[in-house]
Every structure is written in C-alpha cells, then in structure tokens.
C-alpha cells in the first residue's frame, strides 16, 4: 500500500512523539523542528561567510587603510565565502530548511517518510559544518584554493591551507553529501508517496515541484563532487596521481606523475553547474507561490512552469563545460556547450515571463514578502542576461577572469536566491511562529538590501569591462586600469558594508516579533495552499490534528469569479464553494484572471 499516513498509525506516532525537552528541540524527529535547526545553522554559517566577504571588500576598497587580512587570508576568505554560501548556506537553507518545513505541510502529510533519517540528516549536516569551521583553527588555516578547489594548486606549498585545510574541506564536503542524501531521499519519497488524498502531482504548489526536481538534481550531481573529493583525498593523503600531474614545487619534483587536472574540472563542474539549479529551482518555486498569493491571482501558466522546472533540471546536466572555456577545449565542444547554455535560457525566460504575467492585472498587495519577490525578478533578469553573454565562448574568454563574472554570478545565484529566501522567510514567518513580523522594518530591510546590491554589483560589470581581474588581493598599478576604478571599488565597499549592516534589521525583526509581533491567525495572507489550513498555528506535532486533509483543487484558486472570498483553500470541496448566483459578481474580476 503506497499511502500510509505515518501518524495515523498509533504505534508509529508514539515512536517519535517527543517526551522531553531534548527529544523535542534537540534530537527531534519533527520535520518542523528539523527545518528550523537546518535553517538556523545555515543562516549562522551564512553570517560567517558574509563577514568574510566584508573583510575582503574592506581590503579591496581601502587597501592602504585597513590591515585586517593578508594575501593568504584573502584567498582563504574567498574560498570559504564561496563554498559556505553555495553549499552550506543556500543548499542547506533552501532544501534542508524550506524543504523540511514545507514538503509535509504542502503535501498534507504528518511528517517526512523517515523521520529518524531526517533527524540524522540535520545532525550529520551539523557535523560537516563543525569539520569545515574547525579548519579555521588548524595550523595553516582553511584552504585558500578557491571554491572550485582546482588541482594541482590546492595541495601545493604556495596555496594557504594546502595541508590540513584542504583535507578538512574535502572531508566536510563528503560528510555534507551524506547528510544531503539522507535528507534528499526523504524529500523525494515523501513527495511521491505521502501526498494526501486528492493531491495529484499537478495540484502541488510550485514550491514542492521546485524542491522535488532540485533534490533529484542533487542526488545525481553530488555524487560527482563526492567522487572528486575522494580521489583528491587519495592524491593528497596517499600520494596517488588521479588528478596530480608531474609538478615541481620550489625546485623539487613532487611524487606525482601523469594525473589529469582537467578530469577534476569536468567532475567538479558536472556537480557545480547543476548545483546552480539545486539552489535556483527551489527559489523559483518559492517565489512563484509568494507572487501568486500576494497578487491574488493564480500563477500564470502553471503547467508550463512545471515543465520548465523539469526541462531546466534536465538541461542543467549538459552545460557544465561552459565553466571551463578558459581551460581550453575542442572548438566543437565549446560550440556544443554554448548552444546548450543558450537553450537553457528558454525555459528560464519562460518562467520570468510567467512571473511578470502573474503580476499583470493582479490585485497586488505590496506586503514585504512581495517587495522581495518583485525585487528578485529584477535581479534575476539582470543576472540571467549577463549569463547569456558569458555563455558564448568568444565573450567568456576575455571576461572570465574579471569582475564581470563576479557581478554575473552574484546577481544570478547570490542576490536572487537570497531575495527569495527573505521573501519566503517573511511570507512563512507567521505560520512558523504564529506572529506577524514588523512590516516597516522588513520594508526598510528590503530597500537597503535591494538598492544596496545594485550599488555593489552594477559597477562591477564596468570594472569587468575595464579588465579589472578578479581573485586579486590588491590591484597595484597597471597601464590599462584607470585610477578612477579604485574610486568605484571604494564605493562598492561602502555599499557592501551598508548592506551587510542592514541585515541586522532582519535579525532584530524576527527575534523582536517572536514576542511582540501581532498574532497572525492561521492564514494572514489569505493563501489557498495546504500549509495555511492547519488546525493550529504554528502547526503541532503531526500537523493535522485527528484527520488528514483531503484536497479538491489546485493550490492557486485566487480571485475566482463569484467566490465568496478572493481565495479558495485546496481542502474546500466544490459543494461548499458559494456559487455566482449567491454572490455579487464583480466585473473587475473577470474569468480571464482565473483561467490560464
């Protein structure tokens, strides 16, 4: 039997029902507590990575004034900032945090399929973070090889952290992948098997679709990282030559011979590119739901949105070598990867059009989550368009090692997912805590963050065109970079410091509102999807009280003509739905709004 509501079996429920403070908040098997643990830890390491980026910016903007970091710690900061943000913050927060919280609630389930495995997942993730952070305290410090960890320089004497730092990084990644796999198996199995009665796949909110496909991508892509991490550990610890070529270090030939650094690059990017979409797809899903709810309108082109998520997921496995144009490849390969890169822009652009069309003639409520969601559309278009430039070999080659690339990937997979994360945190905060956040503070947080990120990254495109190289600790003086570039650098740093400081507003808001926020009620945004229909807010262990919900409709019945309210929850049967005869028909809400 496929459908076995976990908590409806008394013995099963008893098995993981918390009995003490420790089992409720520490070794908890409740998906909601696990989600908060995942999310809290991911945000905490994200703050560490943010501080590292500010240290780098202070060095770049005011090289003569601050003496906080030396060249070695600059490289270590670059590496740790990148790796933490991409893997330990974004992936963990979007899948471990939002995935854990929303999947069972949006699917009408009591919990994940394997709650014990879920608990293990978060604690193994914590272990991976501890291993990573411990590299700050070992001799030589963390690795400074860049987040891509390219051999042979990862383990050569000139690279900071070439002894213990890189070993701890690889070990931590391997442990993270174990944690992700345990979580991922739970997410996909729960979505497939534990949906409640009537909830077909095409009735799922796009959040669940995004997380579902992203998890499948992760389950296929992370093995490539695991394989490369294992082989590189062998190279470093056992002296093998999988990736290490014959190389001379300070005049002494090393014991390696004949390995292929390019092989590592292929493996790394076979993971690395899908990783972009492992982060992006859940963000696409979350933002779709936030936009639809606050525009009081069904998401435009739901089916195409689902197909686009699937198409992007599939295509993301055949574009990886566009990260390697500068490593050199057969021109036909370059042509192939440039073509696939441009093709992946088609479903992505389709999603952007659909978001904009969802807003079109919507009854838009400009709440703080909506600010962040609309902000995301701006930054994502911006970062996506520069991606089209860089997907072409001839344009990528001169720009690849400049700030243009830094601007591109920060816009598309730094700022954009982070704006969605803020939108989603504010949007679901009332469900998680039962309280409303402070709207004014959240909007101030938005404007400083949104305008600030433009102040940071827009000028970087110009720096890139000027040829300012990325990864440099200090620029020195050159013939081709005008002195005014340094003024721009200083301005970027000031903006970065302001944006960094503005995040304090977010933390004040979420902690202050825990006690002082207005009571939210079960469904403050008037949302149609299932997670807002729980009998308790915040939902109790087991989510649904005595009886699991039954679903009668899709998740986007907003502004349905003739309906009593401007939304009809998924669990409201047709028979209860007021007809047009009983209600005043509002000509502004014509049928085209409810039909796609």
């Amino acid at each position: 039997m496929a459908y076995v509501p976990l908590a409806d079996q008394d013995s099963e429920m008893e098995m993981h029902h918390p009995h003490s403070w420790v089992t409720k908040y520490v070794w908890s098997q409740d998906h909601k507590v696990i989600a908060i643990q995942y999310g809290g830890l991911a945000i905490a390491v994200g703050v560490v990575a943010l501080v590292l980026s500010l240290l780098m910016r202070m060095q770049l903007g005011f090289p003569e004034t601050f003496d906080l970091i030396d060249p070695s710690s600059y490289y270590q900061s670059v590496t740790m900032h990148g790796m933490i943000m991409v893997v330990y913050m974004l992936t963990a927060l979007l899948l471990g945090g939002f995935g854990n919280y929303l999947i069972p609630l949006m699917c009408g389930a009591r919990d994940m399929v394997f709650p014990f495995l879920n608990m293990l997942s978060v604690w193994v993730y914590a272990l991976s973070v501890i291993i990573l952070m411990s590299s700050f305290f070992v001799s030589g410090g963390p690795t400074g090889a860049g987040w891509t960890l390219y051999p042979p320089q990862t383990s050569m004497a000139g690279t900071p952290g070439h002894d213990m730092g890189i070993v701890l990084m690889l070990l931590s990644l391997a442990v993270f992948i174990v944690a992700f796999t345990m979580g991922g198996l739970n997410y996909v199995t729960t979505i497939l098997q534990y949906r409640c009665r009537g909830l077909t796949m095409m009735r799922l909110p796009l959040t669940v679709w995004g997380i579902f496909i992203a998890t499948i991508l992760g389950l296929f892509a992370f093995p490539a990282l695991l394989v490369s991490a294992i082989m590189m550990l062998f190279d470093i610890l056992l002296g093998t030559s999988f990736f290490m070529p014959a190389v001379i270090e300070s005049g002494t030939p090393l014991d390696h011979n004949g390995g292929s650094p390019i092989l590592f690059q292929h493996l790394f990017w076979f993971f690395g590119h899908p990783e972009v979409y492992i982060v992006a797809l859940p963000a696409f899903g979350l933002v779709s739901d936030v936009l639809s709810t606050h525009a009081r309108k069904n998401i435009f082109g739901y089916r195409m949105m689902v197909w686009a998520i699937i198409a992007i997921g599939g295509l993301s496995f055949v574009v990886w070598a566009h990260h390697m144009y500068v490593s050199g490849m057969h021109p036909y390969f370059g042509f192939f990867f440039a073509t696939t890169t441009l093709i992946i822009a088609v479903p992505t652009a389709l999603k952007v059009y659909n978001w904009v069309l969802t807003l079109w003639e919507g009854d838009i409520r400009l709440n703080a989550p909506m600010y962040f969601a609309i902000g995301f559309i701006f930054t994502f278009i911006h970062g996506g368009l520069t991606g089209l430039f860089l997907g072409n070999v001839v344009i990528d080659l001169p720009l690849s090692d400049t700030y243009f690339v830094v601007a591109h990937f920060h816009m598309v997979m730094g700022v954009s997912p982070v704006l969605v994360i803020f939108a989603a945190l504010y949007h679901w905060y009332p469900k998680v805590t039962g309280r409303m956040f402070h709207e004014g503070m959240a909007k101030a947080h938005f404007w400083i963050t949104f305008l600030g990120t433009y102040a940071i990254y827009l000028p970087m495109h110009y720096l890139g065109f000027l040829g300012v190289p990325r990864r440099y600790y200090a620029m020195g003086s050159t013939d081709f970079i005008p002195e005014s570039a340094q003024d721009l650098n200083a301005a970027i740093t000031i903006a970065a410091l302001i944006v960094g400081a503005a995040q304090i507003l977010f933390f004040i808001n979420i902690f202050w509102s825990l006690r002082n926020g207005k009571k939210a009620g079960p469904n403050p945004w008037g949302s149609a999807s299932l997670e807002w229909q729980t009998p308790d807010t915040p939902p109790k262990h087991g989510n649904w009280g005595d009886e699991l919900p039954t679903v009668y409709r899709w998740a986007y019945d907003y502004s349905v003509p003739g309906a009593h309210e401007d939304f009809i929850p998924q669990n409201v049967p047709e028979s209860v739905e007021p007809t047009a005869d009983e209600q005043h028909f509002d000509p502004d809400h014509d049928a085209s709004k409810a039909d796609t």
Binding site: T189, F242, R303, E574
Partner: protein, 204 residues
C-alpha cells in the same frame, strides 16, 4: 495514469477528489522500496563517475596495466553464492515459510563477509608484491574501486545484521519480509556492480 498524461493535466479545470486513498502518481510500493530505488540510482551514478574517470585516466601515457589476481574469480563466486542465498531467503519469506529461512538469510551475509575477507587477502598479496596504492594509477583505481564496493557491502551488512538479530530473536517471516526483500535487491545490485567493476578492471 501515465506520467505524460499526468503532466498534461489541467489542474485548474478538474475539481473534486481525484484518485482513491492512494495519491495519483505514487508507486504501489512501500516507501522503503521507493527510497532504496533512489539510493541504488545514486550509487550507480557514483560508480559510473568512477568508471568514466577510470577510462579517461587509462588513456594517459603513464598507465601500467595491473595483472588481475586469479583469486578475483573465486571471490566473484563467493559473492554470487551470497546473492543466490539471499534470493532463496526472499522466496522462502514470500512463501511465508520458516524452514531454511534463517540459514539462507544468515548464510547470504556470511558469504558476503567471506567475499570481503577474500578481497582483503588480495590487497595484502598485492602489497606484498610491491603493488602499492600510489605506485601506478591502475593500482590506485584497483584499491579505490574494490574498497568502495566493500564499503557499500558493509552498509548492507549493517542492515543484514539488524534483520538477522530480529530473525534470531524469533520474528515471523512476514515481519522481516520487507527487510529480506530489500537486502536481496541490494545484494543483487552490488553483485552486478561488482561484475561491471571486474570487467573494467580486467580490461586494461
């Protein structure tokens, strides 16, 4: 309903309860089996990645083929017997019989342990003959692939030991049927993986 038909459904048109108690599109399997299916796919990806790396690395000039020890054939036989015993245990449990169930299931695990011991013996012999892990990439891959395969077997043996304890403490066949079935599936998978590894290791 076919996947294609599901994906072309227009959810805004259809109202009311669709499907029975089981959600449409769910597999008619216990979640454990679905999760194992995903896990086997992930494991296949991991081994395929190593396979691709092996082929690419082999094409580089410093590759010196390793003569595969004859004992690998014997070890392969041990793993095959292990798989056959698991299948026997599965058939017995499916038929709801108690007789021979314990012998077959526990015997399957013991033969897997013998396989691991055999592989380690090969490692020892190779070391004694001077074929160290770092001497040549062919050797490195030999140790790496066989080691990874053993690691997967050890994971399976952990589950096997838990189920064995349940069997020994008097659980009925129907209580352990799912565990036995999943172990069997996993063992067959690891046998196939081993045969593929053996083939590519021999093809130097």
């Amino acid at each position: 309903m076919s996947l294609f038909k599901q994906l072309t459904e227009k959810p805004w048109e259809r109202k009311g309860v669709i499907g029975g108690l089981n959600p449409e599109g769910a597999f008619e399997s216990p979640p454990e089996r679905v999760a194992l299916g995903f896990f086997l796919t992930i494991a296949s990806v991991i081994f395929s990645m190593f396979g691709v790396s092996y082929v690419i690395r082999m094409s580089l000039p410093d590759w010196e083929p390793l003569a595969e020890p004859a004992q690998l054939w014997l070890n392969t036989g041990l793993l095959a017997i292990s798989s056959v015993l698991f299948q026997w245990a599965r058939n017995t449990a499916n038929a709801g019989k108690q007789k021979n169930l314990m012998a077959a299931f526990i015997g399957g695990g013991v033969f897997a342990l013998l396989f691991i011991a055999g592989q380690m013996l090969i490692w020892k012999d190779l070391q004694a003959s001077g074929f160290y892990v770092a001497s040549n990439p062919a050797n490195s891959f030999f140790y790496l692939l066989t080691g990874l395969h053993i690691a997967h077997l050890l994971g399976g043996l952990w589950v096997w030991s838990k189920s064995s304890i349940r069997l020994l403490s008097g659980s009925k066949p129907e209580d352990v049927r799912l565990s036995i079935e999943l172990c069997t599936l996993y063992w067959h998978f690891l046998l196939i993986v081993w045969l593929v590894i053996f083939a590519i290791l021999s093809n130097t």
